[in-house]
């Protein structure tokens, strides 16, 4: 299965600032997925990122808050903009492979 590297692994940020999370995959993939996992909760899909087109956002998530880039078939970034304490979560990148969906280790974000 694909190996996913996410950076940073964790960060503590001031409210009102923005954080960009990077996701690097060791193989070319068509779609990359960004999930949010709030404390003690399940995973919720934020958006699907396709190379060469605009990301597709799920209900409740908007591009102005979570802009996504997908410059090539192995890399994507998710930015959490104008952060508030409610954005404190784990953000996870995922790709689909032959054996199913693989997840990165996540970025643990704390907004103070």
């Amino acid at each position: 299965s694909a190996v996913i590297s996410q950076k940073p692994s964790r960060d503590i940020c001031q409210r009102g600032t923005s954080l960009t999370i990077q996701c690097q995959v060791d193989s070319q993939v068509t779609m990359m997925f960004w999930y949010r996992q709030q404390p003690g909760q399940s995973l919720t899909l934020i958006a699907t990122a396709n190379q060469g087109s605009e990301a597709t956002y799920e209900s409740g998530f908007v591009i102005d808050k979570f802009p996504i880039s997908r410059p090539n078939l192995t890399f994507s970034t998710l930015t959490v903009s104008n952060m508030s304490p409610e954005d404190s979560s784990i953000y996870l990148c995922s790709v689909e492979g032959v054996y199913g969906y693989t997840f990165g280790s996540g970025t643990r974000l704390t907004v103070v």
């Binding site: 996913i4 779609m31 899909l45 054996y99 969906y101 693989t102 997840f103 996540g106």
Partner: protein, 112 residues
């Protein structure tokens, strides 16, 4: 709308016992049902998955049972070990959908 319902929320089992987690889904178009294991500070890892053309799949101590008519599937962890203590998520997806719908998660604690 919660498309995948998971129970119980938490589970305590003695070492050597059987852990059973249940999930129910609503969308009959779902055709891929994976289970993920997540340890604190880590991303979810694919444990085992099943498609609706079989009623059971076993990999080592982990077994998925699938009941298509009841729209239910379950994970059985045989001979549970303390190292199995983690949060388990069921999920569902369909061909071409490209994303996973997760259950709420079950925290499993295996006591020595």
């Amino acid at each position: 709308q919660q498309q995948v319902k998971q129970s119980p929320q938490s589970l305590i089992v003695q070492k050597g016992g059987i852990s059973i987690i249940n999930c129910a889904y609503e969308n009959t178009a779902f055709d891929y049902f994976p289970w993920y294991q997540q340890f604190p500070g880590k991303g979810p890892a694919l444990l085992i998955a099943i498609r609706p053309d079989v009623s059971e799949k076993k990999e080592g101590r982990f077994t998925i049972s699938f009941n298509k008519s009841a729209k239910q599937f379950s994970l059985h962890i045989m001979d549970s070990q303390p190292g199995d203590s983690a949060t388990y998520f069921c999920a569902a997806s369909m061909r071409g959908w490209g994303k996973l719908q997760f259950g709420a998660g079950t925290q499993v604690v295996v006591t020595p």
